[in-house]
């Protein structure tokens, strides 16, 4: 590539980056503004940064029904449980689809892949009806199970590709060494699968962490999650931009951090499907 081509590429990439990052930077900026400047238009650039918004959010000094920290805990619980539940189902399913010969294996795999395209919003009403009939509204399973289900196809697909890349001879060597199928999965396949498990969990975890529609529809207070909590900073009396953006920052920060730390793994995991 010529230097001009390189320059153009750079410029375009920087532009794209700025456009993509703008909302996040805006949120971050606003969260450090004193409350009275938060929604000034045109925006005010020279202000004394303050942590007051964060203090308010974390201490519950807001005009919302619940302390935000509690909602964050709910999010953590729901995310971890749904991801673990998803993994518990995805690993055996992926193993079976990769290694066990049965009629309709390819069709099953393709069908699972196709469900990635299924829009979760479509199922929110049925899930709501079922949950109400069973008296499950505002209990953990009502979020954990659907979240696990939405992450599942992607997890299965990623893990299946990863398992297929493990030479089968390694498993055969373990069989000859006296290992049962269970022991092979536990001692051989799982350790070799760790990077893919990490990236699949991260992606599924992000889905659960950010999910809004189901959380809004199916939770009242016992399991209300952070994204719903953020939306409550907007009430009929107006929007508290300062605390809202602080809450949003607190919510996004951990997942952004983890993603940054594990970015190489995630990319590896994401491109698995591409090679095979």
């Amino acid at each position: 590539m010529s230097w001009l081509g390189k320059l153009i590429t750079r410029v375009v990439l920087w532009l794209a980056l700025v456009i993509v990052m703008f909302p996040i930077l805006w949120v971050l900026l606003t969260s450090f503004k004193p409350a009275e400047l938060a929604q000034a238009l045109p925006p005010i650039w020279d202000f004394m940064p303050t942590l007051q918004n964060y203090r308010d959010v974390l201490s519950g000094n807001t005009y919302t029904s619940q302390v935000f920290g509690v909602l964050l805990n709910h999010t953590i619980i729901v995310t971890l449980s749904s991801t673990l539940l998803g993994l518990a189902a995805a690993v055996p399913a992926a193993y079976a689809l990769a290694r066990v010969k049965f009629a309709g294996r390819q069709a099953t795999a393709n069908w699972i892949l196709s469900t990635i395209m299924f829009p979760p919003a479509v199922s929110v009403i049925p899930v709501f009806v079922i949950a109400s009939r069973l008296g499950l509204t505002d209990t953990w399973p009502v979020l954990v199970v659907p979240y696990a289900a939405f992450g599942l196809p992607m997890m299965i697909w990623m893990l299946r590709s990863a398992i297929k890349q493990i030479p089968f001879e390694i498993e055969e060597a373990a069989m000859v060494d006296g290992a049962s199928r269970g022991q092979i999965i536990w001692h051989i396949v799982l350790p070799l699968l760790t990077p893919s498990i990490v990236s699949a969990s991260l992606l599924a975890g992000m889905l659960a962490w950010n999910e809004f529609l189901f959380a809004l529809t199916l939770s009242r207070s016992a399991i209300k999650t952070a994204p719903v909590g953020i939306s409550e900073f907007t009430s009929m009396y107006g929007t508290q931009w300062g605390t809202l953006t602080a809450a949003a920052t607190v919510t996004v920060a951990p997942i952004l951090l983890i993603a940054l730390l594990l970015r190489r793994r995630v990319i590896e995991g994401l491109t698995f499907g591409a090679v095979k």
């Binding site: 390694i170 055969e172 060597a173 373990a174 000859v176 350790p191 070799l192």
Partner: protein, 354 residues
């Protein structure tokens, strides 16, 4: 350690038969090499012994135990795979001790056995490395170490040397042979390299299209091949074959071109028959009186010997001489097969006639 019995074993994938009615008896402590061209069913047979493939019919026994229906994990055999199949996430020591740990062998015993195996194989300095940090030859040794620590009934090797360079291959060949002499574990070794087969085997099994062509000691196979296939497969460079017939007196072989080759002590039944004559490259002599005039096509000196490819009785043949000859392409030499080293095969079936 135990003997290994393979009785009338049949295996097909779908309708394609891959192993057809193979029977082999391997004595306790014997080193048997399965050899044959690519795709003849060697790996399939080995994998059936290991329990990685199930038989369609027949029986496999280890000692007095019928293992035909047993899964791999219950057969007490060890296998070295062509690409080693080491566990990438385990150290050398962990790779070797995996099977013992599965069986809950006490840690002391595990250490003792791993140490012993790693000493034998010269791996003591590498015990903490992972397979990714080893050279090809070292990986090969770890794969063998994994087999040795188990002290299994039978060792199986599937072309364990084919991923190594030529020099290392020769070295490992010797090491495996030494190892066997030391441990005396019943061994089945698969290769398509007939030199490996000749140098390592107590007995060789020649497989071809899923059928046993011949079983015998290396020299038996070399001296008395049962048929034209074995004759052509064992020995390097390969035996030359010339079509023609034996005259009524049994004294002379007449090639299709009319060229005549002297025979000795031919059995009666052969007289007057259409046959294929087989002569190994190393069994030609230069004979100024009785030799057939043969035009040299290519001369290939290897240092230890000279391979000469020339036009003999109407077709190209390879001759090998240990003395250095001063010949060039297009020279004409007088070539004669040693009469006592000539093989005759039935022209239609390829069965050896003498």
């Amino acid at each position: 350690m135990a003997s290994l019995g393979i009785q009338n074993v049949v295996k097909s994938y779908g309708v394609v038969p891959v192993v057809r009615n193979v029977s082999i008896d391997v004595a306790d402590g014997e080193f048997v090499v399965l050899v044959g061209p690519s795709g003849c069913g060697k790996s399939t047979l080995l994998r059936m012994i290991a329990g990685l493939e199930m038989l369609n019919s027949g029986k496999i026994t280890i000692g007095s135990r019928d293992v035909s229906g047993l899964p791999a994990k219950s057969r007490d055999i060890a296998m070295v795979f062509q690409n080693y199949a080491l566990y990438p996430h385990m150290t050398v020591a962990e790779n070797m001790s995996f099977s013992l740990r599965l069986k809950n062998v006490p840690q002391e015993e595990i250490n003792r056995r791993t140490e012993r195996a790693s000493k034998i194989l010269g791996l003591d300095k590498l015990l903490d490395r992972r397979p990714g940090q080893l050279s090809g030859g070292q990986r090969q040794r770890v794969a063998m170490g994994r087999a040795i620590v188990r002290d299994p009934q039978v060792f199986l090797f599937d072309e364990p040397l084919s991923n190594l360079d030529a020099k290392l291959r020769v070295q490992m060949r010797t090491e495996i042979k030494e190892l066997h002499q030391r441990l005396r574990t019943t061994t089945v070794y698969v290769t398509h390299d007939q030199i490996e087969a000749m140098t390592m085997a107590d007995r060789i099994v020649v497989l071809h299209d899923g059928i046993v062509e011949q079983i015998g000691s290396p020299l038996e196979l070399y001296d008395r091949p049962a048929n034209q296939f074995v004759a052509g497969f064992i020995g390097s460079p390969a035996m030359n074959f010339i079509k023609g017939h034996v005259d009524a007196s049994g004294q002379t072989f007449v090639a299709e071109t009319g060229a005549e080759i002297a025979l000795k002590d031919t059995p009666r039944e052969v007289h007057g028959r259409t046959v294929t004559l087989g002569i190994r490259p190393e069994h030609f002599v230069l004979d100024a009186q009785n030799g057939l005039a043969s035009q040299v096509i290519v001369v290939e000196p290897t240092g230890a010997e000279m391979q000469i490819i020339c036009q003999f009785a109407g077709q190209p043949v390879t001759a090998v001489f240990h003395e250095r000859l001063n010949v060039r392409p297009d020279d004409v030499i007088k070539l004669a097969p040693k009469p006592e080293a000539i093989h005759l095969f039935d022209a239609a079936t390829g069965v050896a006639l003498r």
